[in-house]
Symmetry: C2
Subunit: 334 residues, 2 copies
């Protein structure tokens, strides 16, 4: 049997299969593709990428040469570019706007052989600090309305280069999925004068059934409406709409949680391809009292087909209660 | 360079890459997977499926045996079931509802070796007539609010069986993507007292740039905001919200157009995996003056990744103008 579940944030429904549910061993995970050629993210390849925007380097080492521990560069094939005018125009019925924005790559380590889950807590903290630094810097450009940080790991999750990296795209509009969360969280806040994410966290911590891990400032859980098997969210316990306002201490706790969770996913699902994204408040002068930033991790274990496309409705064959249990019980290296 | 484009129906934006655009040869198309075992949709396997709901058979041939030319059966692994009570309940913050609905399979031909694009116009008309028949029949169940007809062709488009078939899922709610179209079309109708789809059709037929084919009652075009390369819509020229109200003559013209378009896609993209869906008005007593049914075909040539997931925003590397030109110029067998 299955049940329909409605997301309290966006109002989106899904179908959760509760009998004949699929456990972690039911999913086939692809072997990583072998690639030839020189990796542009390794030491000595700095000349193959656009000029670096930011790097962590020992004092005295030269820009765009080896020695760095983390490097931020413009995407060589950007979806959007920072240069140009922000022109909007109509074409009969249609609206069009020039492709203004930023598209950056965060190379998380010079070591080609390590995944993000292999990095130390200090190294992961540096990655999160680079996200914060770049997010804050891009706010200077008043044409931009939103910064999305995301990571694609594995070929079928859309990673076109194997060397571990994440990306940042800054957009001149607030994207639809964020607007949906803002709208739902806003309606809840108007009605209850509380944050829907905080209420969800409280309920989940009391139930425990969908909680995967918890530390001083963060909780990892499988959401009640999981669009795909083993979807997992990391949320700060403290109410905060803007990721970039996180303190150093919070980023350290978030890094510890992210490392822990990626280790659990790797152990439970045999190094699955995955995406993660950071959902944070838009770039705007007002404070978003109703919003609560979070990081969503989505293992890529299934294919979406016509039904999902036609409805925006997902069928999930692994109830989040089962996924959370498997991830909670996974052995994780310290 | 790229540009942002806004969909006039849903308000959704996308990124369309206009320089460095990718033509039809840029996409790798997977080889079909070899499968073992007896196909449950071939003659002689009728006992492997649930009991048939409807079949086209010669007079005197027995149900659930060979001889049929088209067969409708319940899905053996249904996402939703027709039996049970329609109970909605709250779980703290969350909403849940039992998985009531229908999930049927339309086996389009007994011939395992033929694709939908290989069927005659008469045979495709029979498939569309079966969609109409089942849609009308399910309206008797007052718990249901929406019927989605869809097809998955090819492994990476989610087809788990090779034998050509389509599916129908009837839902107790109106799904999000349809609600978005209804909302956008409703706002446009309130403002202009015209149908946004009709206006779009008029503009497209005048421009010609994105039109792929046209016959007496249908137009095929690549939409201005195409979420993926070679996305293609088939729309009736006459204003009609409800697919199931199509006349026999209209279904014949639609079948001719669908066959034509699937042939063009196969020729241009070397038998790509694809999904198609029929978007029609919800099941409700009122007439949806503002809505206009259509069939969306989505070749599955790319993978979605973190950015698409995080934003609901698609990056399309083949502008619809280029896709329409390639499809318009494709050779099609009569």
């Amino acid at each position: 049997m299955s049940e329909l579940r409605r997301d309290p944030i966006t109002g989106r429904w899904n179908i959760t299969v509760t009998d004949a549910a699929l456990g972690p061993d039911a999913y086939e995970v692809e072997a990583p593709a072998e690639r030839g050629g020189k990796c542009p993210f390794c030491y000595g390849s700095e000349g193959l990428t656009p000029v670096e925007i930011f790097a962590l380097r020992p004092p005295g080492s030269a820009s765009n040469g080896p020695g760095w521990t983390l490097r931020v560069i413009p995407n060589k094939f950007p979806a959007l570019r920072i240069e140009g005018d922000m022109a909007r125009r109509g074409i009969g019925l249609y609206d069009q706007c020039s492709g203004i924005g930023a598209h950056e790559v965060i190379v998380e380590t010079p070591d080609h052989a390590r995944q993000l889950a292999d990095l130390s807590t200090e190294e992961v903290t540096q990655v999160l600090s680079a996200y914060r630094l770049r997010s804050l810097d891009l706010r200077g450009d008043t044409r931009l309305r939103y910064t999305l940080i995301f990571k694609n790991h594995g070929l079928s999750a859309g990673a076109t280069l194997e060397h571990t990296h994440s990306q940042l795209i800054a957009l001149p509009i607030v994207p639809k999925r964020v607007r949906e969360e803002l709208k739902g969280a806003g309606a809840y806040y108007d009605f209850r004068e509380r944050c829907v994410f905080c209420d969800m966290l409280n309920q989940e911590l009391q139930d425990e059934e969908r909680v995967v891990a918890e530390n001083r400032s963060f909780v990892a859980l499988c959401p009640f409406v999981s669009s795909a098997p083993f979807e997992l969210w990391i949320l700060p316990k403290g109410h905060q709409g803007d990721f970039a306002k996180s303190t150093d201490e919070e980023l350290g706790d978030c890094a510890r949680m992210l490392r822990d969770v990626l280790g659990r996913l790797r152990g439970t699902l045999r190094n699955p391809p995955y995406n993660f994204i950071v959902h944070t408040a838009p770039i705007e002068p007002r404070e978003r009292e109703e919003y609560h930033w979070h990081l969503e991790v989505m293992p890529k274990l299934t294919r979406t087909a016509g039904f999902e496309w036609g409805t925006g409705f997902y069928i999930n064959s692994t109830p989040p209660e089962l996924a959370a249990k498997a991830l909670r019980e996974a052995q994780v290296a310290a």
